[in-house]
């Protein structure tokens, strides 16, 4: 089973919930943790894996062979990302706009395009002391495109069938989040009871609805802000699976790199219960 943890708004506690959930379950089931927040992966700070493998994340970008190119412009026409432009007497390639999809190469009638590997970051894997298989993607600073590296991270290794895979999503509500959610059995949406939390929660709900992924909500920093998130969720009949109160003790522990389970052992049971509820919700949704 695959559970993606997403939020829209940054800093709501995706990684806190994802790493704590991983920690709480690690003793009883096989857990794989994929840090898909490739622009700022920080799950490792809480789970402390020892990385033993590293590979380059590469996209293949076109290089036009001028001796074969007839300047027909087909490659420019088919590029959905406008990574190519046809100017006076040549085709320009904008490497940083290229998603490496290969459409230009496939569609070139002259076979005038060769693809050259362009490394945009690395994929890393290792084990934690609790036996969690930890994988993360790290996008090189100044590289603008996180989506291809997330796609590669998800394809890199195949967890055993009975394993639980937790995908820690990047913040926001754009392509990189959609790529993380793709193929997930459940979306755990972490929010906070503030207007910002609610605004982005609505965006996330729009996305998971569109992708037909069942979801539930964790309200973090419960007690701050206002009651609008609760009212909204009650109205939409979206289950609140866990509330984590706003507390200095938790904040201090998290700042020191501890999971909720490290800080308050009660959370082991709370998070295990959360997982059971998720299994139930997934079953109900598949029965429909």
């Amino acid at each position: 089973m695959k559970i993606a943890i997403a939020s829209g708004k940054g800093g709501t506690g995706k990684t806190t919930i994802a790493t704590s959930l991983a920690h709480s379950l690690a003793g009883s089931i096989k857990v794989w943790y994929l840090d898909c927040d490739v622009e700022a992966p920080n799950g490792h700070l809480f789970l402390n894996p020892i990385f033993t493998e590293q590979v380059d994340a590469v996209i293949r970008i076109p290089q036009i062979q001028p001796e074969s190119c007839t300047l027909c412009g087909k490659c420019v026409e088919v590029c959905q990302f406008h990574a190519l432009a046809k100017v006076a007497k040549k085709i320009l390639v904008f490497n940083q706009l290229c998603h490496g999809c290969g459409s230009c190469t496939w569609n070139c009638p002259e076979g005038a395009i060769v693809e050259i590997p362009n490394p945009i970051g690395v994929l890393e894997a290792g084990l934690t002391k609790h036996g969690i298989h930890f994988l993360q993607g790290v996008l090189t600073i100044s590289e603008p495109m996180p989506t291809p590296i997330i796609r590669q991270l998800k394809k890199w290794k195949t967890p055993p069938a009975q394993a639980l895979t937790l995908l820690d999503a990047p913040p926001g509500a754009s392509c990189s989040v959609v790529e993380t959610l793709r193929g997930a059995d459940f979306a755990l949406l972490v929010t906070e009871p503030t207007p910002f939390g609610l605004h982005d929660l609505k965006q996330m709900l729009g996305i998971v609805d569109d992708m037909h992924i069942p979801c539930g909500v964790v309200i973090n920093r419960d007690g701050i802000g206002n009651d609008q998130v609760d009212k909204f969720l009650a109205e939409k009949q979206i289950p609140v699976l866990l509330r984590v109160p706003f507390s200095k003790e938790l904040a201090e522990g998290i700042a020191a790199g501890q999971t909720l389970v490290d800080i308050l052992p009660d959370y082991r049971q709370k998070l295990q219960h959360l997982f059971e509820e998720i299994i139930h919700l997934v079953k109900v949704s598949y029965a429909k």
Partner: protein, 112 residues
């Protein structure tokens, strides 16, 4: 000479648009006859690559110069490679018409 100006509306009296890649309209103007044509910019709604798409449009119109508030690195790279001159509005430029007049008077700065 045929030039293109980024504009908010599809009219010669339109306010100029400071943005190039995501300008709502491009007005192509013949500076001798003042004949003009408005083109809706198809690149405005793109998630990425709007600058290159807009530059490609300008290049395909076979104009000699383009005037806007600024040019991003990708758009500027494409326009430069196509040897299309880039000019910037100045503080007096409010409408497309004014931009054309200031351009004719050589009062607009070249985008380097």
């Amino acid at each position: 000479m045929n030039i293109i100006i980024s504009a908010l509306e599809a009219d010669l009296e339109s306010p100029i648009c400071e943005r190039f890649g995501r300008a709502p309209y491009f007005l192509s103007v013949d500076t001798e006859t003042m004949a003009w044509e408005a083109h809706a910019n198809q690149a405005t709604m793109r998630a990425g690559g709007a600058g290159v798409a807009a530059a490609q449009f300008v290049i395909d119109q076979k104009v000699e110069a383009v005037i806007s508030g600024d040019f991003g690195p990708n758009a500027a790279g494409a326009l430069r490679a196509a040897t299309i001159a880039m000019y910037l509005f100045n503080d007096d430029t409010k409408t497309v018409n004014q931009a054309v007049e200031l351009f004719k008077e050589n009062k607009l700065a070249n985008f380097a």
